[in-house]
């Protein structure tokens, strides 16, 4: 779910809904607009000295076909007719309105378009992928496929020459159009030709570069996946397999097995689900680390629930230490298997609750020289401007409540991380 969301949208030529080569519908899908709009744009651009045709040829040459499983749909030839009609109409209109002058530049534009198409054909036919698609697209004519396969070299040459011819005709035509002009425009025209020549070279060279880049990118993606897999394998080997081996060896020692299994479960969970946060920076991470330490040291389970999160500072660290002390007390004295730890980040205060359902104790009977509760919990909280309440009933468990007032402006919630 997350993977697909993060995958960048790649631009492909569409296989279905195509009219000619799938450029327009591919673009439309990429831009999330109607294919009709894109087609109309191409047709209208045709009026500008054949720009639409050039663009189409360029996209056609550069874009890879979308990889689709299943039978590719037929192209919808009927749709082609209105577009052709509109295109011809536009060109006629241009010639009529702009008259004589448009004739020259218009011809040049069309010649450039022919060059572009020729280059496109050359590039297209030079990839084996393309030939394979041809045979795929004609499932009912296998003999045609074999014909294409067998004579692919000849066909390739034929198409190459055809494309080359188109390019040559275009260039010769342009020279023929512009050579008679023997004024200052000739210089400009010369430069224009140089530019066109360069553009031709670019059109010819770009697909190679583009395809190489695509290949490189695909390879890099593969490498990243491989690295992730290797990391996972290493983690499973280092932690899970070793823990399982230890568990087998200590099968008789229930406590040890539980401790190992719990530690392993926690680290796997963290690895799978938790965003990584440093315990020295975030309140929730610090609490979870403290709980994990207590779990490992005293072989009990701590059920941690933290609502919200914020940065730590000295006072927050003190709160975490007090909570840790409360957990240790519960682990040592309550005689239970599970302790729950709940912390909430509110706008104006942090609160932490540590609760067990164990033996409980009487505050009055705790001796003066025991520093755990008085020093580490009550004293520490009051030193940092907070307060602690301890509720305990014999036989009914203990709850330690810690509160630390906060300034409004420094509180951040977890989602703003």
């Amino acid at each position: 779910m997350i993977d697909t969301a993060r995958q960048p949208r790649r631009l492909f030529r569409a296989r279905d809904h195509r009219v000619v080569a799938g450029v327009a519908s591919g673009l439309a899908r990429h831009l999330r607009v109607s294919p009709l709009a894109v087609r109309a744009a191409f047709v209208i651009l045709l009026g500008f000295n054949g720009l639409g045709l050039m663009l189409y040829a360029g996209f056609w040459a550069v874009l890879p076909y979308e990889r689709v499983t299943g039978e590719p749909r037929r192209r919808d030839v009927a749709q082609l007719v209105p577009f052709i009609a509109i295109g011809v109409g536009l060109i006629l209109l241009q010639v009529l309105v702009l008259g004589e002058n448009a004739g020259v530049t218009g011809t040049a534009g069309w010649l450039v378009a022919i060059v572009a198409v020729g280059a496109g054909i050359i590039w297209h036919e030079s990839t084996p992928e393309r030939r394979r698609q041809w045979t795929e697209a004609l499932p009912r004519f296998p003999w045609l496929g074999t014909f294409l396969e067998e004579s692919d070299r000849r066909l390739f040459l034929f198409r190459f020459i055809g494309g080359g011819l188109l390019v040559a005709v275009g260039v010769i035509g342009m020279v023929a159009v512009y050579v008679p002009a023997e004024n200052s425009e000739a210089v400009v025209n010369g430069m224009l030709f140089a530019g066109l020549g360069l553009a031709g070279v670019a059109v010819v060279a770009a697909p190679v570069l583009w395809r190489t880049m695509s290949l490189l990118r695909a390879e890099r993606e593969g490498r990243i996946r491989e690295t992730e897999r290797a990391e996972l394998a290493a983690m499973v080997h280092d932690q899970v397999l070793h823990t399982l081996a230890l568990i087998q060896r200590n099968a008789d020692d229930v406590k040890a097995v539980q401790r190992l299994a719990r530690g392993q479960e926690r680290s796997l969970r963290n690895w799978l689900y938790k965003p990584t946060a440093s315990p020295t920076e975030r309140f929730a991470a610090a609490l979870e680390e403290a709980a994990a330490e207590v779990e490992d040291t005293y072989a009990i389970a701590v059920e941690v629930v933290v609502v919200g999160d914020r940065e730590t500072d000295e006072r927050v660290a003190a709160l975490v230490m007090a909570a840790r002390e409360a957990l240790v007390n519960a682990a040592r004295h309550a005689g239970v298997a599970t302790v729950s730890l709940y912390a909430e980040v509110e706008e104006d205060q942090l609160s932490v609750f540590v609760r067990d359902r164990g033996a409980g104790f009487d505050m009055e009977s705790v001796e003066e020289n025991r520093h755990g509760v008085r020093g580490s919990i009550l004293g520490r909280m009051s030193r940092h401007g907070g307060r602690a309440e301890i509720r305990s009933e014999l036989g009914d468990g203990t709850e330690v409540r810690l509160f630390l007032p906060m300034d409004r402006d420094v509180v951040t919630s977890g989602r703003e991380r």
Binding site: I2, L272, Y273, V305, V307, S340, Y342, F353, R355
Partner: protein
């Protein structure tokens, strides 16, 4: 009359274990290991409670819930998973599960949870309560939408806080000076709001955490 329970899990070992542990408390009427099998056999046996694994091939517990919810509204679902990741928990509850427990639960607690679900109550683990509190947490920058529908009442939030602190229903009742029945009503209301009316908040929350 003992409760009729159906097990859905793709691991045969786990089903066998649950069956062995629960045998004394409930009547296990069937098992399924795939989504398709679960859908057809639950329809055939109409159990009281379905114990539903979250992660299975072909869409997991969510697919089963979505297939069954319309046609068999009287069957209640309790999700049982190794995962306590927020997206799994919230996703299953939103799809219509009446409770969510993790596979580390003890057999007695599981039996109690099944009974509560069968009686129409919601089963909230402290962790689940924490997620819900997180989702509904008051934010100063949040726009005030429809306060009646989109927010939990103070009382409901209080109940959730105590749940998250590890209190049992009867302890919550004692703490807040209300009856257990009232606590159960509050919890059910939270579940209802979570499923039905808080699309905006929850989708925002999920989007913020890149869960969707």
């Amino acid at each position: 009359m003992s409760l009729r329970v159906f097990l859905v899990d793709d691991h045969a070992m786990f089903r066998a274990g649950v069956r062995a542990e629960l045998g004394a408390h409930v009547d296990v009427v069937g098992e399924a290991s795939t989504v398709a099998e679960a859908v057809s056999r639950i329809a055939a046996t109409t159990p009281d409670v379905v114990l539903l694994d979250v992660h299975m091939p072909d869409g997991g517990g969510r697919a089963v819930l979505e297939a069954m919810r319309k046609s068999h509204p009287q069957v209640r679902f309790l999700a049982l998973s190794v995962s306590d990741a927020a997206e799994d928990v919230i996703g299953l509850i939103r799809a219509g599960a009446r409770g969510y427990v993790t596979k580390t639960i003890s057999p007695d607690e599981l039996a109690a949870a099944i009974r509560r679900v069968a009686e129409g109550d919601a089963v909230f683990s402290p962790r689940l309560a924490g997620f819900v509190l997180d989702a509904f947490a008051a934010r100063p920058d949040a726009p005030v939408a429809d306060p009646e529908l989109d927010q939990l009442t103070n009382r409901e939030r209080e109940v959730l806080r105590l749940l998250a602190r590890g209190y049992a229903y009867k302890e919550i009742a004692k703490e807040l000076f209300i009856s257990i029945k009232t606590v159960e009503t509050h919890v059910s209301n939270v579940l209802r709001k979570l499923q039905m009316s808080n699309r905006y908040e929850l989708s925002r929350w999920a989007a913020d955490r890149r869960l969707v």
